[in-house]
């Protein structure tokens, strides 16, 4: 996929209840992403690279806890997931 398309925001959060967000561009390890304009929520520190279209954790998610996207449970953490970590097949499964 070419990346000559500019993207104005890095993340998309589908529902206020969600504990994961979708990356609208590839995220780099160590970058800080602003989640609110007024800073009421601390910025998200990306702890590992996350590819475009993949999910990043917005909160700490202990092993066994539900993963929520669209306000619905889409899976369960199979490991402790840190805020800012890549969320995919390696650390979640079907609920």
């Amino acid at each position: 996929m070419t990346t000559d398309v500019e993207v104005s925001r890095p993340l998309m959060i589908m529902h206020p209840r969600d504990n994961v967000a979708v990356c609208l561009r590839a995220l780099n390890e160590g970058e800080d992403i602003r989640l609110t304009d007024d800073g009421t929520i601390p910025p998200l520190r990306v702890v590992e690279a996350v590819p475009l279209g993949h999910k990043v954790a917005l909160a700490q998610i202990p092993s066994g806890q539900p993963i929520t996207k669209y306000g619905e449970i889409i899976g369960r953490a199979t490991k402790d997931i840190m805020r800012g970590q890549h969320v995919h097949t390696h650390n979640i499964s079907d609920y």
């Binding site: 104005s8 998309m12 590819p51 999910k55």
Partner: protein, 387 residues
């Protein structure tokens, strides 16, 4: 705010968004002759399929319901049925005339030759187009519109931009008393319990769960992989989708958020109450679109992440994408772009408004890209061999 569209009033109270003359080939061996008639007569559309002889039981029933359903779609003003002989033509023509729609027949064996069949068909079609083209559009409330929602070539963008924006447009139509049909049973597997929770009553919810079980059983006997185990596919996973529920939730978003009124069989028309319906269809676009068109959808909105060119011959299909990379390389193919959701922070509501605006335009006569180029195909499934 209430809207209206300018369409063609029918005797049964429905309002078409087009006034097509449909040339229906009732048998595969007559497809080329039906296609010649359509080539020669502007204003006609071809409705054909790959089978037709020696079908029995459910195959026969689904075929007749699908062909007659497309003929009875409000977008069709008159129908020419082309077949090998009179009995096979009447199988399709009878339910059309019984419903009060103008229908004529070209039966090859009664015409005497290929050229004579083409000539007779062209004469009838020309006369029908003249008559249909004289009808004027009149205002109709949005409650007269049935929208089919479809997605294909899905990717990371589908569930976060295109589908929820289409869902927002679907909700706008439902708020104005219209009808929305979601299809593709395999695509809801994994989220069927969440969709069933939206059913108006337990019977409808149970019917939805049953149609999923039936599709899974059919997949099993037909030799497919376990749908639940093989989804999301390797490609889906590469794109960032992790679980089946996540994939299916992304797909059902395009139907909006309202209560589920009923579950329809393939090509079955919703009866009575307007609102949101589910139609059981397989996932391939041609078949799914055929089911929606035969079920009476006058308009389809089709969201695609990676691209998919197809549309149904009797139902104009608005192509939408939310993927800015796809749009950058194939803007021609799309009637609406909601790529700003991803690239410029546009809200899903604004995306939905943009799609709804195009729905109003197309319902009132604006042509879609696939309609202008005639990129259309109808397909009806056959289970097991013909004898």
């Amino acid at each position: 705010m209430t809207h209206e569209y300018i369409g063609f009033l029918r005797n049964d109270g429905s309002v078409g968004i087009r006034n097509y003359v449909a040339v229906i080939s009732a048998m595969d061996s007559l497809n080329p002759i039906a296609a010649k008639i359509v080539d020669l007569v502007q204003g006609t559309v071809l409705v054909s399929d790959l089978f037709g002889r020696k079908l029995a039981g459910v195959n026969h029933a689904v075929r007749v319901r699908s062909l007659a359903g497309m003929a009875l779609n409000p977008n069709v003003g008159a129908v020419l049925v082309v077949s090998l002989h009179m009995p096979s033509a009447l199988t399709v023509a009878d339910p059309i005339s019984a419903a009060g729609k103008e229908v004529e027949i070209v039966a090859f064996q009664e015409c005497g030759s290929t050229l004579k069949a083409i000539e007779q068909g062209v004469r009838i079609a020309v006369k029908m187009v003249k008559k249909c083209s004289a009808q004027r559009r009149e205002p109709a409330p949005m409650s007269k519109l049935t929208l089919g929602v479809e997605c294909g070539g899905s990717d990371f963008s589908s569930g976060i931009s295109g589908n929820p924006a289409v869902g927002n447009a679907a909700d706008r139509l439902l708020d104005e008393g219209g009808t929305v049909i979601l299809s593709e049973t395999p695509e809801i597997i994994g989220a069927e319990h969440m969709l069933a929770r939206r059913a108006v009553n337990k019977a409808v919810g149970d019917q939805l769960l049953q149609t999923v079980r039936d599709m899974e059983a059919l997949a099993k006997v037909t030799g497919f992989d376990d749908i639940r185990a093989s989804n999301p596919s390797a490609d889906n996973k590469k794109g960032g989708l992790t679980t089946l529920a996540e994939k299916s939730l992304g797909a059902i978003l395009k139907a909006g958020s309202k209560a589920l009124q009923g579950v329809l069989d393939f090509a079955e028309k919703p009866k009575g109450t307007h609102g949101f319906y589910f139609m059981t269809t397989p996932a391939p676009a041609c078949e799914s679109l055929t089911g929606l068109a035969a079920g009476g959808a006058q308009l389809i909105v089709f969201n695609t992440g990676l691209g998919n060119p197809i549309a149904n011959p009797v139902t104009p299909t608005i192509k939408v994408t939310g993927n800015p990379f796809t749009y950058a390389k194939s803007a021609d193919d799309f009637d609406v772009s909601v790529t700003d959701i991803i690239s410029r922070g546009m809200s899903l509501e604004a995306g939905g408004e943009k799609i709804y605006e195009e729905m109003l335009n197309v319902a009132s006569g604006k042509k879609t890209f696939s309609e202008i180029l005639g990129i259309t195909q109808s397909t009806i499934r056959v289970i097991g061999p013909s004898i």
